[in-house]
């Protein structure tokens, strides 16, 4: 039930004392003054409290249970980092305050820029972009500008593997690049021979995720990057999946020129559900002048200032300095984990994924199976063909059994894909519980497949008609009187 449906005329959650000042008329252009009441819900305080408490109880979150949403790194984020981001000292800062007032915040951002350089092997970082895809867009703008400055405006082709996250081709296309898809080979990796066919003087660059969306490490990455460089292109690293390699491998050392990170995955801000996020972009020295402004620099006497004078800067990509609260969480996380701690995070994320992969492979088919990184993909096509149960049905049944469903139908190169990312923060018992649930579902598929086709039954709403929702979306609630055609 929506709070609007609880509304009754004249009910309210407050009582104000009688007005003790004279009423005055708004001095405003008449057409700016509202003529109808705004239609806010009229409810009592208790109704409001119950309404939102009930909603929160219907919610599923990492704080409630296992959330193996592949590609999204839904790991537990320490509450300490939230507390710091919310602290009065930081949350009451205003971006228009004088630099001198903001020294603590600037120092934090300056240090974070340097830490991200160290973690990724890049030379300079901009903290501005507000999400992963925004970082990609920033990276693509840098590539376009770089080729323009160097008189290579004919370079219009961006190469992207067919396993890429959908945002990659979208970001390149938005900047006006022509996207060329590179097929994966039989191991699920970039097909180097296929890549060579597309390398010519028009190549502006490549976008690569490593580990890729199958959770596999692109072992030919150095060769791929070198080939693209030889064709005069730049190499872009989608570092959304950094959770798998921190302290172990660096994109900078793999030869990449530009990288973005999703702080709202690996660095202690929850991913998804509308943000806020943060997708900082790092570059090698020769591209530093192209970064969006401002960067933070260390001035004389240990003071920090904004740096706006970058010769080829693509400009600003967001208001002010990015999503500061996300930067605070990332900084607090890195400081409290330390270098060894971050390395351990990646080791545990990879260990957990491999443990669960190994357990599930007793009964399920794993796509391109071999040692994986932080996630892996099940190929449930055989289940569909043999038992008539879709990946979607299995995912829905997991909700009944108390889990968030994994990512499904992605990556596109695996039919009936189910993409599982357990993350480092889950215990062995939790992983076992999930594996048992998956085995149970397989047994149900064999014996009582209708349970799966009708799932979920125990959730606040049962199976939704996704097709109808997409074909005839109703995006706004309307009062009874307003409905109709």
């Amino acid at each position: 039930m929506l709070i609007f449906e609880r509304s009754r005329n004249g009910r309210s959650a407050y009582s104000l004392p009688p007005m003790d000042v004279p009423e005055s008329v708004l001095d405003m252009e008449p057409h700016l003054i509202r003529k109808v009441e705004p239609g806010l819900p009229e409810v009592s305080e208790l109704q409001i409290v119950r309404h939102y408490t009930e909603l929160s109880r219907k919610n599923y979150a990492v704080d409630v249970g296992f959330y193996p949403l592949g590609s999204c790194t839904m790991k537990y984020n320490p509450k300490l980092n939230d507390a710091l981001a919310e602290s009065e000292d930081l949350s009451f800062l205003h971006p228009y305050q004088d630099e001198a007032d903001l020294q603590g915040a600037l120092e934090l951002m300056y240090n974070l820029q340097n830490m991200l350089c160290e973690i990724t092997g890049m030379d300079a970082f901009s903290l501005q972009p507000a999400a992963g895809a925004h970082g990609e867009l920033t990276g693509m703008l840098i590539i376009r500008k770089y080729h323009k400055v160097n008189g290579n405006t004919h370079k219009k082709k961006i190469l992207i593997p067919d396993s890429a996250h959908g945002t990659n081709p979208a970001s390149a296309a938005m900047v006006g690049f022509e996207v060329v898809e590179i097929k994966s080979d039989s191991e699920g990796l970039v097909d180097v021979e296929e890549l060579k066919k597309h390398l010519d003087e028009n190549v502006a660059g490549i976008m690569l995720t490593n580990p890729n969306t199958l959770g596999l490490f692109e072992k030919n990455v150095s060769e791929v990057v070198q080939l693209v460089h030889e064709a005069g292109g730049l190499a872009y690293y989608d570092g959304a999946n950094l959770n798998a390699i921190m302290g172990i491998a660096k994109p900078g050392e793999m030869g990449f020129d530009i990288v973005h990170l999703n702080l709202h995955k690996t660095f202690s801000t929850p991913h998804g559900m509308g943000g806020p996020g943060s997708g900082p972009v790092g570059v090698k020295k020769f591209l530093e002048e192209y970064l969006p402004v401002p960067l933070i620099q260390e001035g004389e006497g240990g003071s920090y200032t904004f740096k706006y004078d970058l010769k080829h800067s693509i400009g600003k990509v967001r208001s002010f300095y990015g999503n500061f609260s996300v930067l605070v969480r990332a900084y607090a996380y890195i400081m409290s984990m330390g270098a060894e701690g971050l390395k351990k995070v990646s080791e545990m994320a990879v260990l957990n994924a491999n443990y669960l992969r190994k357990r599930l492979s007793e009964r399920f088919k794993v796509a391109y199976e071999r040692i994986c990184m932080h996630e892996f993909v099940l190929d449930n096509y055989p289940v569909w063909k043999n038992l008539g149960v879709k990946t979607l049905d299995m995912a829905k049944r997991l909700l009944d059994l108390g889990f968030h469903a994994p990512t499904i139908y992605f990556p596109l190169i695996v039919k009936e894909a189910m993409m599982i990312e357990p993350t480092e923060t889950e215990s062995k018992e939790e992983l076992d519980r999930f594996a048992e649930a998956m085995f149970r579902i397989l047994e149900e598929a064999e014996k009582e497949p209708d349970i799966l086709r009708e799932a979920p039954k125990t959730t606040p709403v049962s199976r939704l008609d996704e097709a109808k929702a997409s074909r005839h979306p109703v995006v706004r609630w309307r009062k009874e009187e307003e409905r109709g055609s």
């Binding site: 063909k385 979607l392 139908y409 992605f410 596109l412 039919k415 996704e466 097709a467 997409s470 074909r471």
Partner: protein, 123 residues
Amino acid sequence: MKKFAKSHEWVEVEGKTAVVGISNHAQEELGDVVYVDLPEPGKEVKKGEVLCTIESVKAAADVYSPVSGKVLEVNKNLEEKPELVNESPESNGWLVKLEIVDESELSDLMDEEEYRKFCESEG
């Protein structure tokens, strides 16, 4: 008689006009179709190029033109009822009518029986 491409489109030629759609197998794999992004009439496509895009609850998929030609007409019914692609992929759920330029292009497409075998070998 229908001919099928490896990328799961069908084409049926009457005179100079070719009707194009996706196969029943393709619609099953795609799942519920929610939107079809049809081309403008007049657009010219080459065999193997993207003709239009179909969006399902699972994914967005490109449809490749099984022959070269010029778009004469698109299936307007799909704007309101994209589900026709699921309900009747090889008839009422057709996508595009093309004026074909080279009939010999049909020769390397599969007939129904060959296509069925091809799908089995793929799955």
